[in-house]
Amino acid sequence: MNFLRKQLDKIKPHFEKGGKYEKLGPAYGGIETFLFVPNHTTKKGAHIRDGVDLKRVMITVVIALLPALFFGMWNIGDQHFSQIPGSDMSFMTLFVYGALKMLPMIIVSYGVGLGIEFAYAIFRGHDVNEGYLVTGLLIPMIMPIDFPLWMLTISVIFAVIIGKEAFGGTGMNILNPALVARAFALFSYTGFMSGDQVWVTDAGVDGLSGETILGTLALGKETSTSVFDMFMGYMPGSVGETSVLMILIGAAILLFTGIASWRIMISSVIGASLVGLMFNAIGSDTNDLFNFPWWQHLLIGGFAFGMVFMATDPVSAAQTNKGKWIYGFLIGVFAILIRVVNPTLPEGVMMAILLMNVFAPTIDHYVIQSNVKRRQKRLIKLQKA
C-alpha cells in the first residue's frame, strides 16, 4: 500500500500542470483515485462530508448485479447442456462453461466503454466519471450470449458516444446508456438479437432450441416452463434477466443501501399488474398473451431486471419523488402493453423504459410546476387580502 502510494507520488508531478504528460492528467487521476480515495479536503461549504461518493455508489450497484450475473453464467451452461440428451454436467462445469462464454463480453464491454470514457476525459480535461462501471456490466447482461463481439463493440461505442457523451457525459444523458446499446443492437443486428435461435448458446445447431417464454407465447404456443422455474430463472433469456430470485437479492441490496428508488420499483409493479389484470379480464381468442396470468408477467422476460436495474437509473429516471411514482407506473403499463398487443416485439420492457426516459423530464416539469403554482397562489391570496 505504502509502496504503491510512493510510486504514485513519484510519477504524479509528470501528470500535473506543467508536467511532461499534463494532458494525460485525467487518466492518471482516474487510476489514482481508483486505488486511493484522494487527500482532498473541504475548501468551501460544509467542512465535513458524508463518506459516500459516486464510486462507492456505483460499486454497490455492481455488487447488487453480481448474484444475477453469477446465476446467469451457470444458466448459460445449464440451458445449453440440459437440451443435450445424456449430458450430466456438474454445477462447476456448467458455471465455468458459462463464465468462459460471458467473460469475453464483459471484457469487451468494459474495455471499449472505459477506453472511450478515458479518451473523453483526456480531451475534455475532466475527471473520469464512474457511471460506466455499471453500464459496462449491464450491457453484456442484457444481450444474448452468442452476440458477436464486434457487434457488441459497435453497440457500446454507439451507446457511450451518442447515448451519453454527446449529452455531456455521466449525469447528463437522457436515455439509459445500456438500453441505448441494446436498442441499437436490436435494430441493427435483429437476427442476432431476437427470434428462437439466440437465447441459448449454439441454439439452432444440433437442433437446440433457444426460445424464450415470451417468444413461445407470441407464436401462440403454450409454455412448458413451470412458475417455479420462472422465479428461479431456469429458462432461456438474456444472461442477467432470467432469475427473479437473484434480481430480488440485488433489489434488496439497492433498496437497503438507499441507492435505488423504491418508488419506481413498486409503482412499476403496480402498473404492470393492473395492465396484466386488465388483459386477463378482457381475454382474447386470437391472442393467447391476453390470457397469460398477470402475475406471471412479472416473472418472465426482462421485467424484473429492467425494473430493478434499468428503470431506477437516477439520471434517466424522473427526479422528483412524485414524478418517480408516475414514471415507474407508466413503465410497468407500457412494458406489458407492448408485450401483449405489439406483434413485432415479443418483449416490451426496453421500449417502455426508453420511452419513459424521454418523458421523465416532462413528468418532472408538471410535478415541479404544481410546487410553483402553490407558491404563486400563496402570493396572489396575500395580495388580495
Partner: protein, 449 residues
C-alpha cells in the same frame, strides 16, 4: 401561547467533543478586530484612521449601501492597523485594546415606552443593527423596511452547536428587554422557537409566540421554522436575530452600553476539554484556543462544522458565531476507500457503510472530501434533509445557470445557504450547495433587490 412544529426530515450529525456545560473566561486579547467579511455584502466606508482612540460603541465604519448602518468597536482602545487586500479592499480593522473598557453612553432606556423610530435610531447608532438579519437573502436587515414578522430560533440542532439555554442563563432580563425592543420593529409577531423536549426560561418569555420544535437538524434553522409558520413570498421581509444577540440588544437598553461579551462553545474532537468560554466579540482565535487543542494537524472553524468558516489563529471570531469547532484535518489517502461496507468510522446517510447500526455513536469526522466532485447523479437524497417546500436539486440547477425567474418560481426567497448545509454534507456528487445558493441569492439581490 405556543404551537408545535415537528420536523420529520433531516439528519443529526453526532460529533465527538460536544462542549460540556461549564463556563470559563478567556484572557482578554490585546488586539481586537472587526472584519467586514463577517457581514455579507457590506462594503465598508471607514470612519476612523490609524491612531484614533475609540470607546466601546464608537463607530468604526458604515455600510456604503446604507449609511445608517454603522459598525462599532466592541472594546475601547486605539485603531492599530487597517488590513487591506487586493484592490485595497478592507479585510480587517484592528483595535489595540485598553486594559479595561470605556463605554460610550447611549443612556438607559425602557423599550416598551419608546417609539419605533427611536428604537431604530438607538440600534443603528450603537452598531446593534448589524445583529438583525433579514430573510430572504440572509444579509443585514434594511432599517427602512418593516418586516412582516421576526423570528428567533433558540433551538440549536447543528453539530457541536452551543446550547442557547446555557449561553443565556442569567440573561433572562436582558433577553426579555431585547424582545420588547424587537417587537416594536414589526407590525406582525415575534416568533421564538424553542427545543420542544426541554423546559427552559424561554417558556416564560412574554410578548412572543412560542413554537416548540422537535426534529433532526435542520429543525433548529430559523429558515425551516419560517417555512412552517409564515412562509416568505416575493417581496416579503422577515427579520431574524440570534438568541444571544437578542440579549445583547436588551442589555443596550438596560445599561446604555454596548454588550460585546458573548458565550461561545469551544468544541470538536481536537479540543482537549470542550466547554464554554466567555469572550468579547472581535477576539483573536489564538487567544481563545491556545493551549486547549491537541497537537495533531487540525482545522479551526469559526461556527459549526457545517456552516462555519475556516480560520487561523490570527483571525478573529465570526461576528455571529457562538461556537468554535476544531476538527482533524483530513488530508490523507485511503487505500480502496470507496469499497462499500468498509470504513465504518465514517458517517453516511446512505447505508453503504455499516455506521447506521450505531445511531448514537459520536463520530470523529475529519475534513476529508471523501471523494471527488461529480455531476448530479443521485436523486431524492437532497429532499431527505431539506424540510422546506422547495425542490432543492432543481433550485440548485436554476442557481447554477443564473436563471432568475426560475429561482424565484422555485422558492429562492425561502432558503438561506445554511439550509443547504446538510446537502453539502450528504451529496454523493459532492455538490457545493451552500456556495451555489449564496451566489444565487447574491444575483437576486443585484437583479431584484
Amino acid at each position: 401561547m405556543s404551537t408545535d412544529i415537528s420536523i420529520k426530515k433531516g439528519l443529526n450529525i453526532k460529533l465527538k467533543g460536544r462542549a460540556e456545560q461549564k463556563l470559563s473566561t478567556v484572557n482578554r486579547s490585546k488586539t481586537f478586530a472587526i472584519n467586514p467579511s463577517h457581514f455579507h455584502g457590506i462594503i465598508p466606508k471607514l470612519l476612523v484612521k490609524i491612531g484614533d482612540k475609540v470607546q466601546a460603541g464608537d463607530p468604526v465604519f458604515y455600510a456604503k449601501q446604507n449609511e445608517q448602518i454603522k459598525f462599532t468597536s466592541p472594546v475601547s482602545g486605539e485603531i492599530s492597523e487597517i488590513v487591506r487586500g487586493a484592490k485595497r479592499k478592507i479585510l480587517s480593522v484592528k483595535i489595540k485594546a485598553d486594559k479595561s473598557d470605556v463605554f460610550k453612553d447611549f443612556g438607559v432606556k425602557t423599550p416598551s415606552k419608546m417609539a419605533t423610530p427611536q428604537i431604530k435610531e438607538l440600534l443603528l447608532e450603537s452598531g446593534c443593527w448589524a445583529l438583525i438579519k433579514q430573510r430572504p437573502y440572509d444579509i443585514i436587515a434594511n432599517p427602512d423596511d418593516i418586516p412582516k414578522s421576526i423570528f428567533i430560533s433558540a433551538y440549536a440542532t447543528a453539530p457541536l452547536a452551543a446550547s442557547h439555554a446555557f449561553t443565556l442563563s442569567g440573561k433572562e432580563k436582558e433577553f426579555q428587554a431585547g424582545i420588547d425592543a424587537l417587537s416594536k420593529l414589526t407590525d406582525g409577531k415575534v416568533h421564538l422557537s424553542v427545543d420542544g423536549n426541554l423546559a427552559s426560561f424561554f417558556d416564560d418569555v412574554s410578548g412572543v409566540t412560542i413554537h416548540k420544535v422537535t426534529g433532526k437538524h435542520p429543525a433548529g434553522n430559523v429558515g425551516v421554522q419560517i417555512s412552517k409558520v409564515d412562509p416568505i413570498n416575493a417581496g416579503d421581509r422577515i427579520w431574524v436575530v440570534n438568541p444571544q444577540d437578542v440579549a445583547a440588544i436588551g442589555a443596550l437598553f438596560l445599561t446604555g452600553k454596548v454588550e460585546s461579551d458573548r458565550i461561545v462553545a469551544l468544541a470538536g474532537s481536537q479540543v482537549q476539554t470542550p466547554q464554554y468560554y466567555k469572550i468579547t466579540q472581535g477576539s483573536q482565535i489564538s487567544d481563545i484556543v491556545n493551549g486547549k487543542l491537541n497537537a495533531t494537524k487540525s482545522r479551526i472553524i469559526s461556527g459549526n462544522p457545517l456552516t462555519g468558516t475556516a480560520v487561523n489563529g490570527k483571525d478573529s471570531i465570526g461576528f455571529y458565531d457562538d461556537v468554535i469547532s476544531v476538527l482533524p484535518e483530513g488530508d490523507h489517502y485511503t487505500f480502496f476507500g470507496w469499497v462499500p461496507f468498509i470504513g465504518n468510522n465514517k458517517l453516511s446517510m446512505s447505508r453503504t457503510f455499516f455506521s447506521w447500526l450505531t445511531p448514537n455513536k459520536e463520530y470523529d469526522l475529519d475534513t476529508n472530501f471523501n471523494g471527488e466532485g461529480r455531476a448530479f447523479v443521485m436523486t431524492g437524497e437532497m429532499e431527505k434533509v431539506l424540510p422546506i417546500d422547495v425542490y432543492p436539486m432543481q433550485l440548485l440547477k436554476a442557481a447554477m445557470i443564473d436563471d432568475i425567474e426560475k429561482m424565484e418560481n422555485l422558492g429562492i426567497y425561502e432558503v438561506a445557504p445554511e439550509d443547504f448545509a446538510l446537502i453539502d454534507f450528504i451529496s454523493t456528487s459532492k455538490i457545493e450547495a451552500q456556495d451555489i445558493i449564496r451566489k444565487g441569492l447574491d444575483l437576486m439581490i443585484k437583479e431584484v433587490g
